[in-house]
Amino acid sequence: MSQLPKPDPQALRAKYPDVFERPASARLATPLMLLAAFAVLAFGLFDLGFSPSRLVSGLRELGWITLMMIPPDPGSSLPTYLSALGETLSIALLGTTLAACMALPVSLLAARNIIPSAIFRFPVRRFLDSIRGVDTLIWALVWINVVGLGPFAGVLAIAVSDFGAFGKLFSEAIEAADKKQVEGIRASGGSTLHEIRFGLLPQVLPVIAGQVLYYIESNTRSATIIGIVGAGGIGLQLAEQIRVLEWQKVSFLILMILIAVAVIDWISTKLRFAIIGQRAVA
């Protein structure tokens, strides 16, 4: 083996000054930023009433709760829980579909390539943003005031809050669509509606279908929690059992939710691939 010549540090230093002598601002930026972040963290922990003794006693309590959760056991209320789960899935499916139906026309109004005028687009976008800024649980509370307690309020809450999200996502999908096909329709004498129907929708629909499926999946999760404020579904049961400290039932319900979400996840992944495959063939 031949020996490599020993590198001369002095020469290297002279050759690459920006590696060896970085300015102080560049060297200190990351540590200072981290320091600031953790200083705010420390202030937050103090301000929010964290204390080691509370943490330890809380963790001990949590350990107890976990022990009491084993084994999961529904008692005699299994049929109730199954129907509540069905209710939750129904809420997710209906709410998402309703939201998608409402969002499609509005998203056309928010897309740059359909409505070129910013004055008209801007209010539509801000309107969608403000709907998205309000959490699903808050919408659920509002709808309970309107149509009363029950799963129907949950459907409407999911529909409204997803309407904001879909409006944004769909309009982005429309903006990303290829212009050439639209121009082709226009060149053959199609009207604006023809352009949208034959030039835009065939490109956009598979993307939208994929997003809707993904949202059905994520709404299964949201639908489990809106029950906590009284809008039906399995969340209602869960909140009740937690309040009366029936931990075995709680763990059973959580297991049910996990399994349901996993199953929906699996189905929607299969369907999504089927749709994308169809698109590649078409």
């Binding site: 953790f38 705010v40 963290l41 937050g44 922990l45 301000d47 929010l48 009433g49 964290f50 509370r54 943490l55 809380g58 963790l59 309590e61 949590l62 709760i65 069905g86 209710e87 899935l89 129904s90 809420i91 499916l93 209906l94 943003d129 403000s130 800024g133 309000v134 959490d135 649980l137 808050i138 509370l141 509002v142 709808w143 005031n145 309107v146 149509v147 009363g148 029950g150 799963p151 129907f152 949950g154 459907v155 409407l156 999760r221 949201s222 489990t224 929690i225 906590i228 039906g232 869960l238 909140a239 937690i242 400290l245 709680v250 959580i254 939710i257 996990l258 979400v261 996993a262 078409a282």
Partner: protein, 294 residues
């Protein structure tokens, strides 16, 4: 019409047309069947969720008038005619809002630290062993799938009412969500620097520190910022179950029909979410710019 440009003989054209119709008909049938199945599922779901269109039509006016009511002061005037009266509790609300933001900040940071500590174990290319990877993965999946507010419900009982339960709930949920995203970044990282460092005889820890971390840190920061934005929304409802923040005030206002308070608090939350959206969006654009330059 299109007949003007036809250049094929009629017989050939008819055969082609036939084949085309057949191909389209098969596709149409498939689409229609899928549509029918979907519609059937909707009907079943409609029965399951006790959808009653009559209720909706009877009470839809209520929904519209609800917004009318929350935009009206007790004196019967529109809220924006007297902003001082509308935001009468702004001092209290701003304090609670600050608490909400602090809850999501602390929760996100704790979650990010845990996700950071765990993600090298779960990424396929850096994990020290398949068993460890499997266990940590399942743990993260659990933390991610159980909704944050369910954790909050349990933590309120274990740690007592107050923001501490909210922070911990957000931290657990963020650990799950960020752990997955972080490990995906690591899986996309270039492995050549790792080999280079390992060839010098470095330990696993040094490999992670000097080969993987410089590649992934900008992505980490970006995802953590995105999570912070989501968590602000989540923290605004933590108060519904007694876990601190502005949600407590909101739920009281909604349940007790303090109409103008509802709109005032909602406006406060929406404006805050906007500001945080824009700020984190700007920060993330800067971070990604930095990554592209390096």
């Amino acid at each position: 019409m299109a007949t003007g440009v036809s250049i094929l003989p009629a017989q050939q054209l008819a055969a082609l047309n036939d084949a085309y119709r057949k191909a389209v008909a098969r596709k149409r049938l498939k689409t229609m069947m899928a549509g029918a199945v979907f519609f059937g599922a909707l009907v079943v779901a409609g029965i399951g969720a006790e959808v009653n269109l009559r209720t909706l039509f009877t009470y839809f006016g209520n929904f519209v008038s609800y917004f009318d009511r929350i935009l009206t002061l007790d004196s019967g005037q529109r809220v924006w005619t007297d902003v001082g009266e509308w935001f009468w509790g702004w001092q209290k609300w701003l304090k609670l809002l600050a608490e909400t933001i602090l809850i999501s900040y602390v929760g996100t940071l704790i979650g990010a630290v845990f996700a950071f500590a765990l993600n090298f174990f779960t990424a396929q290319n850096t994990s020290p062993g398949p068993w460890l990877r499997f266990i940590v993965r399942r743990l993260l999946e659990f933390a991610r799938t159980v909704p944050g507010i369910v954790f909050a419900l349990v933590f309120v009982i274990a740690f007592g009412l107050g923001p501490m339960a909210g922070v911990l709930a957000i931290a657990v949920h963020s650990t799950g969500a960020l752990g997955k995203l972080f490990s995906e970044i690591v899986e996309n990282a270039d492995m050549k620097p790792v080999e280079g460092i390992r060839s010098t005889g470095a330990s696993w820890l040094s490999c992670m520190r000097f080969a993987v971390l410089p590649q992934v840190s900008a992505g980490y920061a970006s995802y953590a910022l995105l999570r912070f934005e989501i968590n602000v929304r989540e923290a605004s409802v933590m108060g519904f179950v007694g876990a601190g923040g502005i949600g407590q005030e909101l739920v009281v206002a909604i349940r007790k029909f303090y109409y103008s308070d509802v709109s005032a608090i909602l406006v406060t939350i929406i404006v805050t979410v906007f500001v945080i959206d824009i700020t984190t969006g700007w920060l993330r654009a800067k971070l990604f710019g930095k990554e592209a330059r390096a």
